[in-house]
């Protein structure tokens, strides 16, 4: 039997904390790590700050092993379980319930992936450390509409799908980002979390450019190398400003936190 008691803690016998690997690589565990990291970074307690730095790597690794973060060559197992809008049988309550449960699990994993990316990106920007999550690993889809996520039952969830036409898979990320960069996105009808995901990605692109600027490669590169990126950098700045300016009209009270 392992002894995992904390020195000086008379109540710690360690046994009750042991759960095993089956509980290790789960979405709930990863969610716990994310919430714990948020506390550790905000509490300004040195020992917790160090713990947060260690747990960040573990968190990303869990999501990679769980297939939430994956390379483009592997199959997206999470999305495979999500039914399409047309497959839903609205007259069968049991079938609806099963579909709702499957969708909730997949959606939770996707939301966790985006939340961890935002945390990782924000922390890297604030501390000038390299990010751990690669842009290539991000989910192909953005989080689903909040009206579906906040449905209180399978029946209300199915009704919202039928009446609003919102996709169960969520909007595709890369086309949305491309529309943001090109100025083609209809900002008023776009969910604020989607805008935030796009803004974080743009910030990440800036970070990558800064890395290039500061790297030793820039010492040997010709002047034309940096000059060729000027237009791209301007378009990134313009897109970021456009996203910021659009954060003025929350659709729900919970979105007030996004409004500038």
């Amino acid at each position: 039997m392992r002894d995992r008691g904390v020195p000086g803690d008379p109540t710690a016998d360690g046994h009750q904390y042991v759960l095993g690997r089956a509980k290790y690589e789960t979405i709930e565990f990863a969610t716990t790590v994310l919430y714990h990291l948020v506390y550790c970074m905000g509490a300004m307690i040195p020992s917790f700050n160090e713990s947060a730095e260690n747990l960040r790597g573990i968190l990303v690794r869990i999501l990679r092993r769980a297939g939430v973060y994956r390379s483009s060559t592997t199959v997206d197992q999470w999305s495979a379980d999500v039914p399409s809008n047309d497959d839903l049988r609205h007259d069968d309550s049991r079938d609806l319930r099963l579909a709702w449960d499957r969708w909730c699990k997949a959606e939770m994993a996707k939301r966790l992936a985006w939340s961890v990316f935002e945390y990782d990106n924000s922390l890297s920007t604030l501390t000038a450390k390299r990010c751990m999550v690669s842009l290539q690993e991000l989910p192909e889809r953005l989080p689903c509409n909040e009206s579906l996520w906040e449905a209180h039952s399978a029946l209300s969830w199915a009704s919202m799908i039928r009446l609003t036409g919102n996709s169960l898979q969520g909007n595709a990320f890369r086309p949305t980002l491309r529309d943001v960069l090109n100025g083609n996105l209809e900002m008023d009808s776009t969910a604020l979390w989607w805008k935030r995901c796009c803004a974080q990605t743009i910030v990440r692109l800036f970070w990558d450019l800064k890395e290039t600027d500061n790297s030793i490669v820039s010492l040997f590169s010709p002047t034309s190398f940096n000059a060729s990126q000027t237009a791209f950098r301007k378009s990134l700045c313009t897109a970021l400003e456009r996203l910021q300016d659009s954060a003025t009209t929350p659709s729900r009270p919970k979105e007030l936190i996004y409004v500038k």
Partner: protein, 217 residues
């Protein structure tokens, strides 16, 4: 109202109180409608309401302690006040000369006991079905604060299907810890937040370490 003129260490964990916000706690604490628990030699926490009532009672005890301290200095008699009579009615006659401090210490013990109850409940894999109701209410209040204050920025969990009785304790601890930081307004350095963070950290470390050791075998 001003803070009682006593050293901080007398009040211990009561530093979390909002000294200017008694009005929001929902009782008229000067009217004497809310009966304060009588001090006993061995206080039994389960006999005392917690949550909002607990805060109000604690606040009233501090308020009365401050008033008594003032009166003892100025020599003004306050006989006839119901709340003061309650406070100065000791179960142990030998302790009648320090009723306010006694009340404060009693409430401090209760808060400490609640913290320990929550800590022990979160050590298992799930909340025990026979968990003390006062401690459970306090835990649910921290969880509720999380959903109000933190969830909009981190909407990961599915709120409709989330059930505290079916949730793993490590996730409850992480959620309650964030809620506690906002509830106490001490930037995460309050007793509840640190305790919950420690419990959560132990769960995480044990799970990860256990997985590593199994992989090594």
């Amino acid at each position: 109202m001003r803070r009682p003129n006593q050293p901080l260490d007398v009040y211990g964990s009561h530093e979390d109180l909002n000294w200017n916000g008694f009005g929001t706690w929902g009782i008229d604490w000067l009217s004497g409608d809310q009966l304060l628990p009588r001090p006993t030699a061995e206080p039994q926490f389960t006999h005392v309401p917690f949550g909002q009532s607990m805060d109000a009672l604690t606040a009233a005890a501090f308020a009365e302690a401050a008033r008594l301290a003032d009166n003892s200095c100025s020599g003004v008699s306050q006989s006839g006040n119901n709340m003061r009579d309650l406070l100065s009615a000791p179960a142990d006659q030998t302790a009648s000369h320090v009723p306010g401090v006694m009340q404060s210490t009693l409430q401090g013990d209760m808060i400490q006991q609640t913290t320990e109850t929550i800590r022990s409940a979160l050590r298992g894999q799930q909340l025990p079905p026979d968990m003390d109701s006062a401690a459970l209410r306090h835990l649910e209040r921290m969880v509720s604060t999380f959903f109000t204050e933190f969830y909009p920025g981190l909407p990961v969990m599915h709120p409709s299907s989330w059930d505290i009785t079916a949730c793993p304790t490590y996730l409850i601890a992480a959620i309650a810890c964030l809620g506690s930081t906002k509830l106490h307004g001490k930037k995460g350095s309050d007793q509840d937040s640190v305790m919950l963070a420690e419990v959560c950290s132990r769960h995480l470390n044990d799970l990860v370490s256990d997985a590593r050791s199994r992989r090594a075998w």
